[in-house]
Amino acid sequence: MIETKKLTKNFGSLVAVSNLDLYIGAGDIFGFIGPNGAGKTTTMRILVTLLEPTSGEAFIDGLDISKHGKDVRRRVGYMPDFMGVYDDLKVFEYLEFFAAAFGIEYRKRKAIVDGVLELTDLVSKRGAPVDSLSRGMQQRLGLARVLIHDPKVLILDEPASGLDPRARIEMRELLRELKRMGKTIMVSSHILSELEEICDRIGIIEHGQFVFSGSMEEIRPRLGIQSKVRVKVLGDPAPAVEMLSALPQIQKVETTGDYLSVTFCEGEKTDGIIARTLVSGGVDLVYLQPEQLKLDDAFLQLTKGIVH
């Protein structure tokens, strides 16, 4: 649905995006991550035809953005990181204005606007002035605006920035709902745990280039990180340490407080071997949890914090 080939954007001597190859399949949620100034917003603005690439190609729904700008804009909904609003318009009027901008017929506008208000849970704010809305409400209004012409692709730049925890959870639920509706979503965020929960794939960009692109499962081998499991047993942990250390699949066992941290050899799976060994050895196992690689950790390991 979204594809770029050797996409490059220079601002004078500054290379904002460099030979970026990106592919996002239909119906996917793609998390776009990177330090400030890495080129995320520039890439997004190129995709929504607000910037022309210096070189390379970009396609939305098979359409070349350089040649079919108007058609691309009908297929894409873009929500910038900072959304300006018109002071003197009410919520309904604001959305109706954008419906008109997308050429939606007058007699259909009311129903469409009511639909997106319902979807974004803004029905109660229908007649409220736009500038009286809270930050969270304005973000939702931005999303409602983006949805007004029923685009296939949503490009959302930091949609959760500045939102309180409740608003962030609601935004996340809304994105899941949109995915269920079949939308392809490209979303950038600095709140990495948010992306971790909702994204099918992520791309980590730095200095205008991808340092990683793939699923969360693909990051671990990319970083050369072995699987780890946290274990807690009842009573003295020493026998458990002895039993697990003897296993050929296990590289090392460390005691951290009440817990044991078990590191597997590279490429080994964690399937049940620990539980089977401990239970058969007469140890009372009370806790066993594979350690998840956090996106924050992957981000820190993959990026160097280079700023233009």
Binding site: G12, T41, Y86, E93, F97, A101, K108, L119, D150
Partner: protein
Amino acid sequence: MRGDTTYGSFMQKVPAINLFQCLNPLRLAGPIFDKELRVASRRRRLYVLRFGYVALLVLLFLRLWFLMLRSGQAGGGVFQVSRLGELGKGIVLAVLWLQFLSGQILAAVLLSDAIGAEVRQRTLDVLFVTPIRSLQIVMGKLLSKLLQLVSLLAISLPVLAVVRVFGGVPWGSVIAGLCVTLSASLFGGALSLLLSISSRHFYHAVLTVGLSFIVIWGLVPLVLGHLASAQCIAGTTVTFLLGLTNPFVVMADLTRGILTGVGGMGLSAAWPRHCLFLLGSAGILLAWSDWRVRRIALRVAPLRVPETTTEAGARHWGAPRAIRPVTGSPIVWKERCRPLF
């Protein structure tokens, strides 16, 4: 919360535009026109302007009326009727000049923040991800503000119609005056709109329009007059050029025509040509605005990129400057660092 929405079922394919819709003049302005009118009706400024204009009109009318009364009641019926005609001329001229001056000033003020506000509020890029074209933004802004202006100027039309009963002023002169006023206002508005694209504050655009008017309508005729007196250029050529380009000259000539009953410099019949010239000039300014709006929308993008790293920034700032230490009051230091203009 949102699970049970009917949103998707409402979505329809955007219909193709038929020939009738293409010919609709409002389509040129698009939804911007509608939005601007809606927003304007909620701004107190519009009502203050209307009140101020009507108050000025009434004061002018009363002033002329009392001047007439003070000049004496003596004389026969024929004399009194002729005095009414003179009063009619005075009122018509006063209203025409009021419209002419206020029209240009108001057009410049109303359009001075037209595009600048969009840039400042960061709404321009949101508009550009819709199928709206930059021409629609420019025309939508211009036509909506001009409609406000015309509705303001139209307040004085009943006065002109009533005063016409007194006699002494031909309809042709009134219409000519209105046309010159409208074309000059359109030109001023188009210039203000163009300047608003790059102005950070509305008053920058207003001041620049004022300065431009002083140069175009004031200094250029002076220079041409000087050249004519020095016989560097023929007097008829100067008259022709001024009649073509300068609305003040055309209005002055119309005034002379109304007062004396004959054409002053022989330009009275040339006002349609002058109006066409101003309309054409306004068209060029609007085309330029259309081009610049698109460019400025795209330039909003690299806001986070330090300006000195961009080509435009490098041109603007030249070579990177040394870091200046803060000396004395930090507020004074900061203000000193800001460019004067």
